[in-house]
């Protein structure tokens, strides 16, 4: 599924300074019963966000009007656990286009890149600075510049560069996905497959 191109994103950010946020928290299994990719944002962080009677939990950050924005800043080892792409869909569908963390779980990171959410891995020190900046001023803006691979705390102009491979960067900049690429090399794949032993 194609997604919007990503170039420079300047936005306030939502802080979630918890470590090992797993995909069961991002979207609990009981919300994986859909056969279409629709409405997952409503259940993002469902059990942290709502009580059993569906009333919002006042102390959870997504229910706190002080914080908003298109960037989610998570603690270390964000997205561990299951391969469910629904977790990345929920993040996207809620309105986030970028997740910043000092460390991502592999599959979640790959899933994000495949659907147009940019995972930005920063040093633990820089992540702390971002958390501190948001705490000091919830309206502080973060700029994520994909062409230059740079993330900046706008108020203080402190910045750090981040990694992304050239291929994925190109995809994000152009809104392409891997299937577009693979479709174009189908003959090569077929020739290869015909000679493979298994």
């Amino acid at each position: 599924m194609a997604y919007d191109k990503f170039e420079i994103l300047k936005s306030t950010a939502v802080p979630l300074p918890i470590e090992n946020v797993d995909t069961d928290q991002i979207i609990p299994a009981r919300f994986l019963k859909a056969t279409e990719r629709k409405g997952f944002g409503d259940n993002l962080f469902r059990d942290w966000r709502y009580n059993n009677d569906d009333s919002p939990k006042a102390d959870f950050v997504l229910n706190d009007a002080t914080y908003s924005g298109k960037i989610l800043v998570g603690g270390k080892n964000f997205g561990s656990g299951s391969s469910r792409e629904h977790a990345a869909w929920a993040v996207y569908d809620y309105g986030f286009r970028c997740v910043i963390s000092s460390f991502f779980a592999d599959i979640f990171k790959g899933n994000c890149l495949n659907i147009g959410v940019l995972p930005v891995q920063v040093s633990a020190g820089f992540a702390d600075k971002i958390f501190a900046a948001i705490e000091a001023d919830p309206k502080t803006e973060i700029e994520v510049n994909l062409p230059e691979q740079k993330v900046t705390i706008v108020a203080t102009d402190e910045s750090e560069s981040f990694d992304i491979n050239g291929y994925k960067k190109g995809n994000m900049l152009n809104g392409f996905d891997d299937i577009d690429y693979l479709q174009n090399m189908k003959e090569e794949i077929k020739a290869f497959a015909e000679n493979s032993p298994l």
Partner: protein, 466 residues
């Protein structure tokens, strides 16, 4: 050039290496289930393309299926809808489909090996992170997201950067009462849940050489819980013995030819790894988890660590213990429990039920315990009956359910109620994993059996004959 087992399999599947990008990897076997595939099938439909090699994809229903009364219509309309979608998608594209009630039905990572779909040297993917299970056969197997499921359907390839390589050695002989599950939980407790992120693991050393194929599957299954993409073990005589004669394994001359290739599948003596770790088997005792990720595990005789002694954030640690309603310094032994779950792709094979039966035999289920015994597949279920294990189960006051993922992820009705404590042979103890508010202790089938008959956390060695 010297190569590791992982290099040999990976490199031989690279169709193209994209400059400053991932490898295009050919996939030999693709397993799909009802939960992570519908959107992928919808994706190829919207693009107006078909499935390139339908005979390389296999479908089974497991995540969302009931484990009682499978012969009746599925009650939950959303679950029924997903099952129907899988059936229709499989039929439309000519994919073999082992749906609910089919004799080959079961958990995707249990049936794959049972029918010889899983083979050494193959690349195997599935939209489920525990696909790493199949690495026990010397395959490269890992979980993928739905976009990648769509890629495999459309092009039989995915695009992945080659992971780094790690070897984990466990030397010596295991202590009495220590199972493959304990070995895995021990390693994860040492590495933490992110200790192997970015790596593909090879397990080596006497402990894995001496392990049964079922045990190796349990270990490889849990690779993802330390963050690894997957784990694998070099195929040996045990592997070949296990797969020989199964429905999808090569026969006759094709078998001989395959064997020639499979015998080359081991790490060259001078090949190097990006990281190498070694543990002593004698240090491992039966393990249990006490927190909300699989890295929070301890030997059964130990007490819950203090916040200041653990790696990572103190706030996160305290939040986790708060959720579990446990305190620092407490013993695990003696904690009253409410539920026992034996099953899942981690410990839902015949050997796991044999272990469970060895402890419950001649004892009775504790009154305070609700137990869910869920075989990984119909084949496992049949073996349980054939070997007389079902009689032991009934005599001890337990019942056997029908195959499926069940309380491993609690998508169906098998949900542990809020606040209740479960000893579970599955793979994840995340908050709410087994139902909203549920509390999970991960352990081996022996530990689960000991808890089921005593009603509390018990060292299984006390109930075993040396």
């Amino acid at each position: 050039m010297s190569k590791t087992l992982f290099d040999k399999v990976w490199d031989s599947h690279v169709v193209r290496s994209v400059e400053d990008g991932p490898d295009v990897l050919l996939i030999d076997r693709h397993m799909v289930h009802e939960v992570t595939s519908p959107v992928a099938f919808l994706g190829i439909k919207n693009r107006g393309i078909g499935v390139l090699y339908p005979n390389k994809t296999f479908a089974t229903a497991d995540h969302n299926t009931p484990t009682i009364n499978q012969h009746l219509p599925v009650q939950d309309p959303l679950s029924a809808n997903q099952l129907k979608a899988l059936e229709q998608n499989a039929a439309e594209h000519g994919i073999s489909h082992w749906g609910l009630g089919h004799e080959k039905n079961g958990i995707v990572h249990v049936v794959g090996p049972e029918y010889g779909i899983t083979q050494p040297g193959a690349t195997i993917v599935c939209g489920d992170s525990h696909t790493s299970t199949h690495g026990a056969f010397g395959a490269i197997a890992f979980g993928i997201g739905t976009s990648e499921v769509e890629m495999v359907l459309a092009t039989q390839c995915i695009m992945q950067p080659k992971p780094k390589k790690m070897r984990i050695n466990v030397k010596g002989d295991l202590n009495f009462g220590v199972t493959p599950k304990d070995v895995a939980l021990y390693i994860i407790s040492k590495l933490t849940t992110s200790g192997a992120t970015g790596y593909f693991v090879e397990y080596a050393g006497e402990v894995f050489e001496n392990m049964t194929m079922e045990g190796r599957m349990t270990v490889c299954n849990l690779s993802i819980e330390m963050g690894a993409r997957g784990g694998m073990i070099a195929p040996d005589e045990k592997t070949f013995e296990y797969i020989k004669g199964r429905e999808h394994t090569p026969k006759g001359a094709a078998w001989d030819k395959a064997m020639e290739y499979w015998k080359t599948l081991k790490t060259d003596p001078d090949a190097t790894f990006d990281k190498e770790l070694t543990f002593e088997a004698s240090d491992i005792e039966p393990m249990i988890t006490y927190g909300t990720n699989p890295g929070m595990g301890i030997g059964i005789s130990k007490s819950i660590p203090n916040a200041k002694d653990v790696q990572g954030g103190e706030t996160t640690y305290k939040k986790s213990l708060g959720y579990m309603n446990f305190n620092e310094g407490e013993d695990m032994i003696g904690k009253p429990i409410d539920f026992v779950f034996i099953g899942s792709c981690t410990n839902g094979r015949i050997e796991d039920f044999r272990a469970f039966a060895s402890i419950i035999k001649g004892r009775k289920k504790a009154d305070n315990v609700t137990a869910w015994l869920v075989p990984g597949s119909h084949k496992v279920e049949a073996a349980i009956k054939e070997e007389g294990i079902l009689d032991i189960i009934h005599e001890s006051g337990f019942e056997l359910r029908e195959p499926g993922c069940s309380a491993c992820l609690a998508m169906n009705d098998d949900k542990v109620p809020a606040g209740k404590l479960a000893v579970s042979t599955s793979n994840r103890n995340f908050e709410g994993r087994q139902g909203p508010g549920s509390r999970t202790l991960l352990a081996s089938p022996l530990m689960a059996a000991a808890a089921a008959v005593t009603g509390k956390v018990t060292d299984p060695r006390e109930l075993m004959n040396k």
